[in-house]
């Protein structure tokens, strides 16, 4: 055992406390207790539920988008019952569903649906997803702390998240928004239909920003101040490094989108003219402001995913992460460089000099990212690799994220970008990064930590089937879109020329497999909660602190304040907690290497 009772234990180190999930009192008071809880684990679970709900909503929109694109919209001559011929619109599935009258109205519905998909997935799922749910749950435990530094602020962040989401949903109920999630001016400020819908959607994104800022601030302070005795900066698990880097970006970038969205609301309501070319304002200024936030935020989305992958690979291969320091510094390096590459979203609107500078800087950010991938793969070497769902997800991540990263190269190079910009190539690229990276890591992390969070194991076979379906479905859906993009299909099109139909149909079929995969996971998780076998405290043999406590963790995380005795990945020399050294042989034939810490 690596924990010893701390000398100055507080009055709260009861040995009989139950799991944080144990209901207290009747149903209603349990609900109230959850709604007013300041326990980071409960807040993490509440975030998980909220984020997955929004993921479901965004996913429905995504399925609708793919369904609409099964056929292009066409006028077809049809003979009417009275013998006259009339041209009738066909192929506008969403238009028919919502009884849109005519091509313009049908296209408008498609536009609202893809905006819904983008806005929900970016602002409500991928940005807050991993840090707010898994981060909230595990950051304090992995640091050996009882809670985050500001527990009430943490609960407030959740309520702010819900409020922002309610504004976004309200905007959908009022009729939706057709601006695209990027809200480019002057379309969003003066042209887009639905006055209050647009304001509410932007207000929703603005409010969600506060949630990001407060959560980020809370995590930074927690990491600085609440590490357990014995834990230096380079004894922190890489997941913590990733969440820490993410939080720095969130705290520094979000205020800029805050003021931008605020000005956009003023623009929409009072026509202040700052982004309106008709009044001497500058629409490109909006793009600069927007991407100054939204590019760093790409790394807010991906860094936590990278952190999860570091944990998954180390634990399931029982190997120290190769080049721990390089991976940790790569997180910080990515965070730093992410602030100076926003211009690469605007190569088709900037001057030559600015484009050249941003293109160069963009290639710089590729380097730490590549280094991380090399390190993860090198970690596999001579490991003891479990083939289970988390490991399959880690491999999926490496596969998909590598494609996502490598297809960033032709987008970073100026000549090729001017062809690929705003095409389906970009759509495929960022889905490989955002979904193939973040969401795949998120789902993998969920499988990794599920036994710890809910105290139940899940059915490994069904989970692996789900993983396989998601992997296949994802590639079929999005790999085709690279070809669509290079061949000339622009993004955000409700309809297209006949030549693109085959690839669109392949992509749509892929989306059905993707859906099926997620449904299998949903079923597996529900089955696990209802009838899963009880999880042991350390099912995978992990060394980080969350595996020392019980599954699910007790209310105060640890019976005694832990004192760190080994590094997070010292698999060479340490028997994991709750394992009997007799059942857990260590390699004694090779002398231990310098651990690098």
């Amino acid at each position: 055992m690596s924990t010893i009772p701390a000398a100055h234990d507080t009055a709260h180190g009861h040995h009989d406390e139950g799991s944080y999930l144990t209901p207290r009192g009747p149903f209603l008071s349990t609900v109230v207790a959850w709604a007013t809880t300041i326990d980071h684990k409960k807040i993490g679970v509440m975030y998980l539920v909220a984020v997955l709900t929004m993921f479901f909503l965004g996913g429905v929109a995504a399925m609708a988008v793919r369904a609409e694109l099964w056929t292009p919209n066409r006028y077809v001559e049809q003979v009417q019952p009275d013998g006259t011929t009339q041209s009738v619109l066909q192929g506008d599935l969403l238009g028919k569903l919502f009884k849109a009258d005519g091509l313009g109205a049908a296209n408008n519905i498609y536009n609202r649906v893809f905006t819904l998909h983008g806005a929900i997935m970016v602002f409500m799922v991928i940005v807050p997803g991993v840090p707010a749910s898994l981060g909230n749950f595990f950051l304090p435990i992995m640091l050996g702390a009882k809670d985050v530094a500001f527990p009430r602020l943490n609960l407030l962040s959740w309520y702010i998240y819900v409020t922002g989401s309610i504004f976004a949903v309200l905007s959908i109920i009022l009729g939706g928004v057709d601006t695209g999630w990027t809200f480019y001016t002057p379309y969003s400020s003066t042209h887009a239909a639905g006055h209050w819908n647009v304001v509410f959607m932007i207000l929703g994104a603005f409010i969600l920003g506060f949630s990001s800022i407060l959560t980020g601030l809370n995590f930074i302070v927690t990491t600085h101040k609440l590490r357990c005795p014995g834990m230096g900066w380079f004894d922190m698990p890489l997941f913590i490094w990733a969440i820490y880097s993410t939080s720095i970006i969130a705290v520094l970038a979000t205020p800029v989108i805050g003021i931008t969205l605020l000005l956009l609301i003023f623009e929409r309501l009072f026509h202040v003219g700052i982004f309106d070319p008709a009044m001497g304002g500058d629409p490109v200024l909006f793009q600069h402001f927007f991407w100054f936030y939204s590019h760093p935020v790409v790394y807010v989305m991906i860094l936590p995913g990278m952190g999860i992958i570091s944990e998954l690979i180390a634990v399931h291969c029982r190997k120290p992460i190769f080049g721990y320091r390089a991976v940790a510094f790569a997180s910080l390096g990515i965070a730093a460089v992410s602030f100076i590459v926003w211009g690469h979203h605007m190569f088709a609107s900037m001057g030559e000099l600015a484009s050249a500078v941003f293109s160069f800087l963009t290639f710089l950010v590729a380097i730490p990212t590549a280094v991380k991938v090399f390190n993860w793969i090198a970690t596999l070497y001579k490991g003891s690799i479990a083939i289970n769902t988390p490991m399959l997800y880690a491999m999926s991540f490496l596969f998909l994220f590598s494609i996502g990263g490598l297809t960033g190269l032709p987008l970073g190079a100026l000549a090729t970008d001017l062809h690929l910009h705003d095409s389906y190539f970009v759509v495929a690229h960022f889905h490989y990064v955002m979904m193939g990276g973040t969401i795949i890591a998120f789902v993998g992390g969920l499988h990794h930590w599920w036994p710890k969070m809910f105290g139940r194991m899940y059915n490994e076979k069904w989970a692996m089937l789900g993983c396989a379906l998601v992997f296949i479905g994802f590639n079929v859906t999005f790999f085709t879109q690279f070809f669509l993009g290079t061949q000339g299909m622009p993004r955000r099109y409700a309809s297209y020329v006949d030549e693109f139909q085959f690839l669109h149909q392949v992509s749509t079929v892929g989306s059905w497999f993707l859906l099926l995969g997620f449904l299998v996971h949903l079923g597996t998780f529900i089955h696990s909660l209802v009838a899963g076998p009880k999880a042991p405290p350390n099912p995978w043999g992990g060394l980080t602190l969350e595996w020392e406590t019980e599954s699910p963790p007790i209310e105060h995380n640890f019976h005694h304040e832990p004192i760190l005795k080994h590094g997070p990945y010292d698999y060479d020399t340490t028997v994991p907690p709750h394992y009997d050294p007799a059942d857990y042989p260590l390699d004694t034939t090779t002398p231990p290497h310098d651990s690098g810490h």
Binding site: P72, N73, R74, S87, G102, L103, G104, A105, N107, N111, D178, H191, A192, A193, V284, C317, K319, F322, Y324, R325, S349, E352, F363, A366, I367, A370, V371, V373, I377, K382, G383, I385, A386, I387, L398, S402, L406, L409, P410, A415, T416, L418, H419, H421, D422, S423, G488, P490, R491, R492, Y493, S495, Y496, V497, E499, P585, D587, T590, P591, H593
Partner: protein
């Protein structure tokens, strides 16, 4: 060694190139872009296969066996890590440099280029040629009629682009080139079509609202002689008022939103409209059988689209104040009349024009209406 092998592969516009692109680019600068793309593709493929191969091999080879621990190995290796940081960086530097070089080539037009002034608006492209002519030709692409821009083979063509409303983006996939089009400044790039007889798609690539996906155009490449004949012809406007009206309607993109066959689109159809009563959004009605009321309704709807809004249609139209002359309004009115089966429509229009003698004198009848309109 690796680099030269990759370069060789990239020059082959064979089956792999064919997966990504619909044939070779129609422009040598586009071919250069493809070369860079294929270079990056093979470079990426090399690394991807290497990394994934190692991953799958090691996961298989070192799969967990009961009682067998993970072998100890170095937890880091500085020389190796430096090498795998520096070597890819050099390749990335090379990609950056080639990308920049080829980009400048595509932006800076030769001095003897033909300049087309491209105007973008929701949801249509127009191109004004150096002699002031505007392309009147249209072609069916997807669900919409889109304008055709005729260009001579072998001549450099420079686009000087601006927008009337929101941001658009002028993308010609076959030339591997696009640039955004702004409401507050000009942007430009150039292309050089090589082969007469080809047609090329143009798409709007920056989201611009309802009919974004219908905002396309077609570039038709012809010989120099055919081009000169065509451009001379479009420099002169002629024909009956209704024929001129159709040209004006196409130039201004009216037909992107107003159908000619009775189908509903963003705006009300023009078929069988003239002379019939129109329900308005405020509950009032444009009376039927009233030429003065109808002529004023059309004029006002062009100059101030929000003033009398057709019931059931949101106000999506920009004002054409200052862009369409009074004469052009008369011609469009004549064209809309010619589409109507109402007694005041085509029948009356043709009768008036027959009474006035030759078609070119048909303007007299319209002029009369115009002065009627002025009295109100």
């Amino acid at each position: 060694m690796t680099a030269s092998l990759l370069t060789t592969l990239a020059q082959d516009s064979g089956p792999v190139h064919g997966l990504f692109f619909r044939g070779d680019s129609a422009w040598d600068k586009g071919v250069a872009t493809d070369g860079l793309f294929m270079w990056v593709f093979w470079f990426s493929t090399f690394w991807f296969v290497l990394l994934m191969g190692l991953m799958v091999w090691w996961v298989y080879k070192y799969r967990r066996r009961p009682g067998v621990p993970a072998k100890r190995s170095a937890s880091h290796n500085a020389p190796l890590e430096i090498v795998w940081t520096v070597v890819p960086s050099l390749f990335l530097g090379y990609i950056f440099f080639r990308g920049f070089h080829s980009y400048i080539d595509k932006l800076v037009a030769p001095a003897d280029s033909i300049e087309l002034v491209v105007k973008a608006m929701k949801w249509n492209w127009t191109a004004t040629y150096p002699n002031g002519g505007v392309s009147p030709d249209v072609m069916r692409l997807g669900a919409s009629d889109v304008p055709v821009f005729v260009m001579p083979a072998g001549r450099a063509v420079r686009f000087k682009m601006y927008s009337d409303d929101v941001i658009h983006s002028f993308w010609i996939p076959d030339f591997r080139m696009k640039f955004d089009v702004f409401p507050n400044r000009y942007t430009s790039f150039w292309i050089q079509p090589m082969q007469a007889g080809e047609t090329h798609w143009v798409f709007c690539a920056e989201y611009c609202g309802d009919q974004h996906s219908e905002m396309a155009a077609v570039i038709q490449v012809v010989t120099e002689a055919e081009y000169i004949e065509w451009v001379t012809r479009i420099g002169q406007v002629g024909g009956t008022p209704q024929e001129r009206g159709l040209v004006v309607a196409r130039k201004n993109g009216c037909l992107t939103c107003h159908s000619l066959d009775g189908t509903r689109n963003v705006g009300p159809t023009w078929r069988n409209a003239y002379g019939n009563p129109v329900p308005l959004a405020d509950g009032s009605t444009i009376p039927g059988d009233d030429r003065t009321a109808w002529d004023n309704y059309i004029r006002e709807s062009i100059l101030d689209p929000g003033a009398k809004l057709h019931a059931g249609f949101p106000n999506q139209m920009n004002s054409f104040q200052g862009q369409v002359s009074e004469d052009e309004i008369l011609w469009i009115t004549a064209y809309i009349r010619s589409l109507s089966d109402h007694p005041l429509g085509l029948a009356a229009l043709e009768a008036e024009q027959a009474a006035a003698g030759e078609g070119e004198n048909g303007e007299n009848g319209e002029g009369e209406n115009g002065s009627n309109g002025g009295e109100n």
